[in-house]
Subunit: 225 residues, 2 copies
DNA sequence: ATTAGTCTTTACAAAATCTTTATACACTTC
DNA sequence: GAAGTGTATAAAGATTTTGTAAAGACTAAT
């Protein structure tokens, strides 16, 4: 019936086995990852309809994995944890988790919450690679290419570029970009942004003096195309 | 800041009071209903952004209310209950509840789950685009097009155009436009406005000498069509 | 401690926009 | 049709905003 695809990211084999059996008897197809790193890689390759993400992982904290996934993955993510710590729950939900379930969970509730979460997936398409003519941005690998040539961008340059690219066609005000990239404290430092737009243009534009990707909207901000 | 509207449906006054205080200190505006029937009526009249629905109600069962609301109400509904009964949870979620929380709930978690639920409402809240024959104005993206070609407008030009377009068909006096765009200090500087109407017409009119969009109302001001 | 890489800050040049002035045109009123 | 009032257009400074280079500050790794 459903044939939805679920990715389990959990380091405990017995939990994975339990989930696998439960989900497969309910017509989900299941893929599994033992570590966060492996989970991100599988998510990028298989684009599952839902991810069950354990908070306690051997390599990275589950919250970190959640944040990384949410850079590009916008389908459902349900967090699982033995921690019923309120702070963790709030953090997970604010970081973009669809739901949060404490272990040991009850099977029927888990299944109901999975159904509920998948139901809301019919939203915008998720894509881990953004392409604009000669520029491509791989959000998973954090690699930006121009005509198949890998560009070397600093962290800040990359953050500015991704923010603009994700809002293709929309004018973003300088204040908004500053707030998103530098934080609320730096909204008046418009000069930072000018410098970084300058270096970005040198790297991604054919002719930096006549930009075709990062367009200046005088008096307001910038627009990506 | 948020100013989202939340409807509480619960028969216990002390719970309502507690929720009211919690929500209002977090910048939500709150309306309350004691019974399911009253809740449905308030939901219809106020179209709140989220409904907190208790499962135990004097007149009808909360599950029933949920089903009735879901016939037409498609924003978030969070169920509250002292029953941590798995069957109830599964039923509620399958009946269309956005989330289910057992009482006594923890405040921070409740607030996080409310934020999470409201966030999903806001997604399809995208474009408001004004269209007038060959001219379209996307207020969110801040982009003006003429026959699918993006026009480059300065800040002031854009402000004047949007003000006129939002009041399509209505005559706006020069003083009013000056006040709105330049501020109260410049209401006598009618010449500014003439210059900007001139440049705007050059950009948006087929024949700027015979304008069809920005019409002069002699002695009064301008009208957009 | 040194170095390489990056970010912040300063200074100035370049571009775009706004304001102001000048003048021409259009419309009403007598 | 002439005078007077209001409107349109062009073009000149004046001002603001943006772009670029480069020096100084910071950070992390060796």
């Amino acid at each position: 019936m459903s044939n939805h695809n679920i990715l389990i990211i959990d380091d405990e084999p017995q939990i994975r086995k339990l989930l696998e059996i439960t989900l497969e008897t309910n017509d989900y197809s299941v893929i599994q990852a033992e570590t966060g790193k492996m989970g991100i890689s599988l998510a990028a390759n298989y684009n599952p309809d839902l991810i069950l993400l354990d908070i306690e992982l051997p390599d990275k904290n589950g919250q970190q994995i959640l944040t990384e996934l949410r850079q590009w993955y916008n389908k459902a993510i349900i967090m699982l944890s033995v921690l019923s710590n309120e702070e963790e729950i709030v953090k997970a939900l604010d970081n973009g988790a669809t739901d949060y379930l404490s272990k040991p969970f009850r099977t029927a509730e888990l299944l109901a919450r999975i159904r509920n979460a998948i139901k809301r997936n019919d939203l915008p398409n998720t894509n881990s690679i953004l392409i604009f003519n000669d520029i491509s941005i791989d959000l998973v690998a954090r690699i930006v290419k121009r005509n198949d040539e890998i560009l070397k961008l600093t962290t800040t340059e990359y953050n500015v570029l991704v923010l603009l690219a994700k809002n293709e066609g929309r004018v973003l005000t300088q204040q908004f970009i500053l707030k998103e990239v530098w934080g609320v404290g730096s909204q008046t430092e418009a000069q930072y942004l000018r410098v970084f737009v300058g270096t970005l243009r040198k790297k991604i534009e054919e002719n930096p003096a006549k930009p075709t990707h990062i367009i200046t909207e005088n008096g307001i901000g910038y627009r990506f195309h």
